[in-house]
């Protein structure tokens, strides 16, 4: 923990060494490989590894990190408490069925901790204090401690060293003199004598660990609004490298949302830049959702596409996340026979993903506009713009079957060559229908055109028009244009 607040396990290892009172407290793997050991002095470290990054232990930052982890773990149970020595206690008794059993739950918690950038010892036990002791023991030795039955917990606890319990530590020498090394030995000592010499605290702790008294905890309360911040320890120049750090913040958001039974509609990331000569405002990445969510997979996917598009103009040193718009969580309504094609929400989620990568101007829906001019009638707007069905129906012209319209409309009409007084496009065009006269738009773009369906010698159909009024010279040859293709 002291080291990972400075160098999370997803960042590159620069040989970080944490000092407390001029003594080494923790070392990163790279520094350990160079020979730096716990307990060394500053001078010794610098001699072994001149480019080591020496930092003072930051207790405040550790507390913040522990709080962040606790926030993220709130998604598994509403009962999370902070215990002494950087240990979090979770009451998972009610969550086992939801998350698929103790193994699956432990696996998920471990994966989440890895995403957050911390390594931790995980242990489960029927009593909270028992789990605390097992985790404290495993923190030094590694390995997992998963105990489900009370009898096996008693067996495991009896073998643990006695100095693990904090109230017993001042009396370590006295216990050693008695030949009392493990918690089991300690329990066999006469209780009144133990209480007189070591105080009430040790007995209370032992009773709690062995399940002989009830335990009380102060469960963590989630704050009413969410704002999380993360300082990066490298200067990040590529936006997609921020994804790891952002994932950590999203995980905290998930925990907070679950604890407060909320779903999020809009979140904003602030990418904080280095303060150079001029202060630079943070870059904002705003993610608005059509459908409120409290799971982070969809948010991570959206963010990945947004970050891939983002161009950073200065290195990023910090990241903050704010939930701007939340609403009460609506439980998913599962139908007995799910539709094969997925629900409407799936569709909305897919469009959000497409918009995040392609941009809103490239994912379009049709809103035909009642205008006689074909290019003005063909209106497409971004798919996420809400259009009421009644508006769309009211704008729909009634006579769609009366007048033929081509499926493909050229963006700009192509002027056609004339050969033997016939328009020519690949081959001479033969008019297959009568003219449809469109004369509208005297208020902005006047169009006076006669539209025909023409057929080329290759039997393909074209939508062509003739300009009826050609400037001021009415005696000039008519001009023909190709405006659409019938698909």
């Amino acid at each position: 923990m002291p080291i990972e607040v400075f160098c999370p396990n997803w960042s590159s290892d620069a040989g970080t060494v944490v000092l407390e009172q001029e003594r080494v407290l923790a070392v990163s793997p790279l520094a350990r490989a160079a020979g730096v050991q716990v307990g060394m002095r500053r001078g010794g470290v610098l001699m072994l590894m001149p480019d080591a990054r020496l930092v003072e232990r930051d207790v405040l930052r550790e507390a913040e990190a522990l709080h962040a982890v606790a926030m993220a773990l709130l998604q598994y149970t509403p009962l999370v408490a902070q215990a002494e020595e950087s240990i979090l206690l979770l009451d998972i008794g009610a969550s086992l069925r939801l998350f698929g059993g103790i193994r699956a739950l432990c696996h998920q918690v471990r994966a989440d901790l890895r995403t957050l950038g911390f390594s931790a010892a995980l242990s489960c036990a029927p009593t909270a204090r028992g789990a605390w002791l097992l985790a404290r023991n495993n923190g030094h030795r590694g390995g997992h401690g998963r105990v489900v039955k009370m009898a096996s917990l008693v067996r495991r606890l009896d073998r643990l060293p006695g100095t693990l319990a904090p109230p017993a530590r001042p009396f370590a020498a006295w216990f050693e003199g008695l030949g009392c090394f493990s918690l089991g030995d300690m329990r066999r000592l006469p209780r009144p004598g133990l209480q007189r010499r070591c105080g009430r605290a040790l007995l209370d702790m032992l009773d709690a660990a062995y399940g002989m008294t009830a335990e009380l905890f102060q469960w963590l309360e989630a704050p009413t609004s969410f704002h999380a911040k993360l300082e990066l320890f490298d200067r990040v120049e590529h936006a997609d490298a921020l994804l790891y750090a952002a994932q950590r913040l999203l995980l905290q958001l998930t925990g907070w949302l679950c604890a407060r039974q909320l779903a999020v509609l809009r979140i904003t990331f602030y990418l904080e830049h280095e303060r150079g000569k001029v202060a630079r405002a943070p870059t904002l990445v705003d993610i608005a959702l059509a459908e409120a969510t409290w799971r982070d997979e969809h948010l991570v996917r959206l963010l990945k596409e947004r970050l891939a598009k983002l161009e950073l103009d200065a290195p990023v040193i910090g990241l903050a996340l704010e939930a701007l718009q939340v609403q009460p969580m609506a439980p998913p309504s599962e139908s007995l026979f799910p539709e094969p094609g997925g629900s409407e929400e799936d569709c909305v989620r897919m469009f959000e993903l497409l918009v995040a990568r392609l941009g809103p101007e490239n994912v379009l829906q049709a809103v035909p506009y009642p205008d006689y001019r074909p290019d003005l009638a063909n209106i497409w707007v971004p798919v996420q713009q809400a259009i009421r069905p009644s508006v769309r129906a009211a704008q729909m012209p009634d006579a769609i079957h009366t007048f033929p319209r081509p499926e493909w409309l050229l963006a700009k009409p192509i002027a056609l060559l004339m050969r033997d007084h016939r328009p020519f496009y690949g081959s001479p065009l033969k008019m297959a229908t009568n003219a449809e006269r469109i004369e509208a738009g005297w208020w902005n773009q006047m169009q006076t055109r006669d539209y025909f369906i023409a057929q080329g010698q290759d039997h393909a159909l074209y939508w062509v028009y003739r300009e009826r009024i050609v400037g001021s010279h009415l005696d000039r040859d008519p001009r023909w244009f190709l405006h659409g293709l019938f698909a």
């Binding site: 569709c347 049709a366 497409w380 081509p406 493909w408 039997h459 074209y462």
Partner: protein, 235 residues
């Protein structure tokens, strides 16, 4: 060849066996093409859903959407995605084909990688009724990837490509070539699970467009008999 009577026919042994002279049974659900002559030539009797269907066009605008109209109209209860069409689609014309504008989605992209990514997302989500993808050049590994993605769901997936790519290999189990013909379109069977067919199939498609207005050069069907008094007025 004479088959002994006591041997069971191979097509009755397993659904994925068929004789070279027969059309295969389709394992996928099929959507009726709406053209009975075409349906009878396709394995399963229609467009298979959840597979890549290759349509090879001689040029754009030869009746490809009118050919797909009945199938798309049947799929229009869910969204229909037009991905990278060659020109701006005209919503009113598509509405006349029976595709309501509220169900149409037009996706544009500038890079081919984005187009393929978008196609894969649409197919994997499986929440759309049909996907039409226009691509001029597609590498065979991206085709295979799209074919696999299509198998995740029941989306009707057509890929419209130029006729020149008929030479390239494709994982699509059904590949048809479309050439314009007088009054309709000629369909060539480049690849299908069934017997080789060299003669193209002609489908009339144009009459709905052209019969709204009487054609100028159509011969008059009723000859004018009398120029005098009408017979029923003569007593």
């Amino acid at each position: 060849m004479i088959v002994p009577q006591n041997h069971p026919a191979p097509e009755s042994l397993h659904p994925s066996l068929w004789r070279a002279s027969q059309l295969a049974h389709s394992s996928a659900r099929c959507v009726d093409t709406g053209h009975p002559t075409l349906s009878s030539q396709l394995p399963g009797g229609g467009w298979p859903t959840g597979t890549l269907i290759d349509l090879l066009l001689q040029q754009t605008g030869i009746g490809e959407l009118r050919l797909l109209r009945p199938a798309l109209a049947a799929a229009a209860s869910r969204r229909i995605v037009l991905l990278q069409p060659p020109h701006a689609p005209q919503a009113l014309a598509l509405a006349a084909l029976g595709l309501p504008p509220s169900q149409l989605v037009w996706i544009r992209s500038t890079r081919s990688a984005d187009t393929l990514w978008a196609a894969e997302q649409v197919l994997r989500s499986g929440s759309c009724g049909a996907l039409l993808l226009w691509q001029n050049h597609a590498r065979s590994e991206s085709l295979r990837r799209l074919h696999l993605a299509a198998q995740c769901g029941e989306t009707l997936f057509f890929m419209l490509r130029p006729l020149s790519s008929a030479q390239d290999a494709s994982p699509a189990p059904l590949r048809l070539s479309l050439r314009p013909a007088a009054g309709g379109v000629n369909i060539g069977f480049v690849k299908r699970r069934g017997p080789q067919r060299d003669a193209p199939l002609f489908l009339p498609l144009n009459h709905s467009l052209l019969q709204r207005h009487a054609s100028l050069d159509r011969p008059l069907s009723v000859p004018v008999a009398h120029r005098g008094l009408l017979p029923e007025l003569v007593q």
